[in-house]
């Protein structure tokens, strides 16, 4: 048994029993085994010290997704974080930040971020999670005649979507999302990972419609700022950001969907830029991200012109300080190429990779890959195991 101090960020919705409305911190000392969870600690404090401490929980085994909180600032499940490891992490960051180690170690526990708090550690997930989740039509929409029996699909396609099927709707990724912090309208990691779950599912018949919708919502797939926070927060390994990037690739490259955020233009402009120059020509990138057709076929859209105009003051400031003094940095397209035949080799790499276009899915082969062995058959969740197509059945 060890003693732990939990510093809990509480919230009182309205004045009651001498407690004023609003947020406040309160410390609880608990005594438990180091392998028990932060949730066990919270429940001991609630049972022994203050029954009004509000927390949502059910299974205590990282299955139900009810006890999403922030432990030492990291969005996670309280039941999946051991007291011993939480204390060690609190100690590590405190000493790393210059504390002398003389003070006691305090595990901070806060309600999830990016959502309103109802009381203490209980948040309102309706407006920030469930509403966005429903926004992506999270159900299968097959088209064509219904099969006589079950759908026959390749097992690997189902293993692939199993990663997003694993989501338990705990909201930890929503809490950690740094785009949503700046833009509360962002559809967000949980809902977009769920969108991939259907867009990656061969039984669904609405892939293009779904993608068109998510690419043309200004707060959709191109509003993700690529910060990886959701990947580290997810207790089930869903890696929502990876699913968002795949949605971008499928929307842009497989379906050629142009989006309202110029995301597809930016991706193509960047990619072409390196093919031509080897290293990034920022002036050219800026211009082409907004208006890829300005030199030829297409006319830029009104929003592209607006975007370009908005970047002019920044460019002028850069010229003034000498940041962009030299001619190559001012004129799009006059950027130095790689020396010797290096650029030719880069172009050759492009030709082969664009032709072959392989994707290695680390979720499918298992992290660490071959050396640690691919996942055993029994590691594949039941939902992913699809019977081999039995041809005799179709006869």
């Amino acid at each position: 048994m060890a003693e732990y101090t939990l510093k809990v960020r509480r919230f009182q919705p309205e004045p009651e029993d001498g407690v004023a409305a609003g947020p406040y911190w309160e410390e609880f000392d608990v005594e438990l085994e180091d392998t028990l969870s932060v949730l066990d600690g919270i429940l001991q404090a609630k049972n022994d010290q203050d029954g009004t401490l509000a927390v949502r929980c059910s299974c205590r085994a990282a299955i139900c997704g009810s006890c999403g909180v922030k432990v030492n600032g990291q969005s996670t499940l309280a039941c999946k974080t051991q007291l011993g490891e939480a204390a060690a992490e609190a100690e590590r960051t405190a000493t790393g930040n210059g504390a002398n180690g003389a003070g006691k170690t305090v595990i901070t526990v806060e309600p999830m971020a990016n959502m309103p708090v109802i009381k203490d550690l209980v948040t309102d997930m309706e407006s920030t999670h469930w509403e966005k989740y429903r926004r992506v039509s999270p159900w299968l929409m097959p088209t064509g005649p219904e099969p006589e029996r079950e759908h026959i699909v390749p097992p690997e396609a189902m293993v692939d979507v199993t990663q997003s099927v694993a989501c338990i709707q705990c909201g930890a990724c929503v809490s950690a999302c740094l785009s949503m912090e700046a833009d509360p309208d962002f559809i967000g990691p949980a809902a977009l990972a769920k969108a991939y779950r259907f867009i990656g599912d061969p039984r669904d018949g609405q892939h293009e419609e779904r993608l068109y919708d998510l690419a043309n919502d200004p707060h959709g797939i191109y509003d993700c700022t690529h910060c990886f926070s959701c990947i580290d927060a997810c207790p089930k390994g869903v890696a929502p950001m990876n699913q968002i990037m795949r949605l971008r690739r499928i929307a842009g490259d497989d379906y050629g969907i142009a989006d309202v955020n110029h995301g597809r233009n930016h991706e193509l402009a960047f990619t072409k830029n390196i093919e031509k120059k080897g290293t990034l020509d920022e002036s050219l990138l800026l211009q082409e991200s907004y208006a890829p057709g300005v030199k030829g076929k297409l006319l830029p859209t009104r929003s592209a012109i607006k975007g370009l105009l908005e970047s002019i003051p920044t460019a002028i400031r850069g010229i003034r300080t000498g940041k962009m003094r030299s001619i190559p940095k001012l004129i799009p397209g006059v950027h130095e190429k790689l020396p010797g035949d290096a650029q030719e080799h880069v172009k050759r790499i492009y030709a082969r990779a664009e032709e072959s276009h392989q994707e290695l899915n680390l979720y499918m082969i298992g992290e660490g890959g071959e050396e640690e062995g691919a996942p055993e058959a029994e590691d594949v969740p039941a939902a992913a195991i699809v019977p081999e197509p039995d041809e005799s059945r179709e006869l």
């Binding site: 790393g96 690739r249 960047f270 990619t271 080897g278 290293t279 990034l280 790499i349």
Partner: protein
């Protein structure tokens, strides 16, 4: 202690483009520290995660090419860009995971006479921050300090790509990589400013896609650092620098407050403590005023 450090140096694109002061200050600082850099001038852009979004194999092939060029020097590789680190680590993870895939990519590299070889314990590609703490060492760095930055209040800003995902970025071996900036600031004699933004996102990846979201992120972090009493920020990522410094006047409009906080590149902060002058380190090229930092440093000299 006195063992010479020699690296294959990948400066990246932005350090020679919109933030030329980064490459310049890195060269000065490395020489003063005794870090010998063999520049990979034939190497290509890491793709910054954007090319991987378009075609994963293309990004993996391009970075395998850079790794292979570095391996020809028989030296570990050093980068000076959080974004390069993240994008390259992602590709390296895939290249190291599957030998058939690696062979396929090496087939592409063959005509140039190069090959990416998977090392037993993982081939080394470290950004300057990691190299400084893990290989150079803070004690050795402290011994090099000629002008301790006493009283300079510095807010660390890491950049997402050297922080997350932890499983890919060597945190199992080096769990304190998310505390190195604080350690370096203190070693140089400066004071660490604790503020909310240190490990958040600068917003740069969506600057052309959602300007408002992007600039709100940058503006909020700069504002928080000012409120916490910072004289400047320091970052190991030139893309963060673009949003935090170059876009700072635009970010100020979005968050509706005055902002004017210097944002230093990591080699600039190190360079100041080694005795270089702000002008030598290219600080006049910055957009946000570096006058406060210059005055503080002048008072120390």
């Amino acid at each position: 202690m006195s063992e010479k450090i020699k690296v294959a140096y990948w400066p990246g694109c932005v350090s020679r483009g919109f933030t030329p002061e980064l490459h310049g200050s890195m060269e000065l600082t490395a020489e003063a520290l005794g870090i010998e850099m063999v520049t990979l001038d034939r190497a290509n852009c890491s793709g910054a995660g954007v090319i991987a979004e378009h075609n994963q194999e293309l990004a993996d092939s391009l970075n395998a090419r850079t790794f292979a060029l570095a391996q020809q020097t028989d030296l570990p590789m050093m980068n000076i860009c959080s974004t390069c680190q993240g994008a390259q680590s992602e590709c390296q993870e895939r290249l190291d995971a599957d030998s058939a895939y690696r062979d396929h990519i090496n087939e592409t590299l063959k005509p140039e006479g190069i090959e990416y070889v998977k090392a037993k314990d993982g081939w080394t590609n470290k950004n300057f921050l990691w190299l400084l703490v893990e290989d150079y060492g803070l004690e050795r760095l402290a011994a090099q300090v000629k002008r301790p930055l006493s009283g300079l209040r510095v807010g660390p800003f890491y950049g997402c790509y050297v922080l997350r995902p932890k499983s890919r970025l060597g945190y199992d071996q080096h769990p304190d990589r998310d505390l190195y900036l604080e350690q370096v600031i203190r070693t140089l004699g400066g004071e660490v400013v604790d503020y909310d933004g240190a490990r958040r996102c600068c917003g740069f990846p969506v600057i052309t896609m959602n300007r408002e979201t992007s600039l709100r992120q940058a503006g909020t972090h700069v504002g928080d650092a000012i409120d916490a009493g910072a004289d400047c920020l320091v970052t190991p990522c030139p893309l963060c620098h673009l949003n935090l410094d170059m876009q700072q006047p635009e970010a100020a409009k979005v968050v509706g407050r005055d902002l004017d906080l210097a944002v230093l590149h990591l080699p600039q902060l190190v360079g100041l403590a080694l005795g270089f002058e702000p002008k030598q380190l290219g600080m006049p090229k910055h957009i946000a005023s570096t006058v406060t930092v210059e005055d503080r440093v002048a008072a120390l000299a």
